[in-house]
Amino acid sequence: MNLRRDVFQAIADPTRRAILTLVAADAMTAGQIAEHFDSARPTVSKHLQILAECELLTATPTGREIRYSLHVDKMQEIDSWLSPFRSLWQTRFQQLDDVLSTMKRRGK
């Protein structure tokens, strides 16, 4: 369980999560990624740098551009960390949905 702390900060940002989703489909250059966002190119570059620093993205120089691809193992590490929380609350809330439905019927 030795995750670097900043991984979780990296994915706390919605733009960075969007970048990960984008790159999950196919490796892209920084320019191609930037086309999908309204933010200025330097802002997107900064996001990419953060994602690469915490190893969520793998940066491969190709010609004059850098291609970014998803580092799947790292993503799975995060997922395994997050899923128990998610599952617990998901189950809890599904049960609460049922309880609320019953309360509604009782109130009618």
Binding site: R5, Q9, W81, R86, S87, T91, R92, L100
Partner: protein, 165 residues
């Protein structure tokens, strides 16, 4: 009941916080009741096959809920929630700490901040949990993994099968 209701879990390990956001297709008064009435709370707080059992619940600032999560084999895991702030229909803050059956608390716990809001008959609940120590958060997760994952996986399958029908 399958409207597009929001469910989001975000972990910020550096800040030692977990933020859970969820919407419910029910009016605020009902959701508030489900969070603050012991016999209702005990119906949903523990993920099946676990069962929550509140031994004490004094829902007021300075009061406490002393409850157990009971596993199918009957073993109990006790915890105390001490209420530090209550704004009716709006906010609940408490300090949560695990304890033994005699209500002797652990050294470290977590601070919970729950906020409630309603719009167009949909109630949004936002739960921010801040752990006092990263070690505790890790420990908590390991506990979840060992205790819950297997049970939850089978439940997930069951629920999926039911919703596919």
């Amino acid at each position: 009941m399958s409207q597009n209701l929001m469910f989001d879990v975000t972990v910020d390990k550096a800040a030692q916080t977990v933020l859970i956001t969820r919407q419910f297709a029910a009016e605020l008064a009902l959701v508030w009741e489900a969070f603050t009435t012991p016999d209702v709370l005990d119906q949903w707080w523990a993920p099946k096959p676990f069962q929550a059992r509140s031994k004490v619940m004094e829902f007021r600032v300075g009061g406490r809920r002393f409850y157990a999560m009971v596993s199918p084999d009957g073993s109990e895991r006790w915890a105390i929630q001490r209420y530090t702030e209550i704004v009716p229909m709006e906010r609940i803050k408490f300090f949560n700490v695990f304890a033994d059956a005699d209500e002797n608390p652990d050294a470290t716990g977590s601070n919970w901040d729950l906020t409630f809001s309603e719009q167009d008959g949909i109630t949004t609940v936002r739960i921010l949990v801040h752990n006092e120590s990263l070690a505790r958060m890790e420990h908590l997760l390991e506990g979840f993994k060992l205790g819950f994952t297997a049970a939850l996986d089978s439940l997930d399958d069951l629920l999926r099968r039911q919703s596919d029908r």
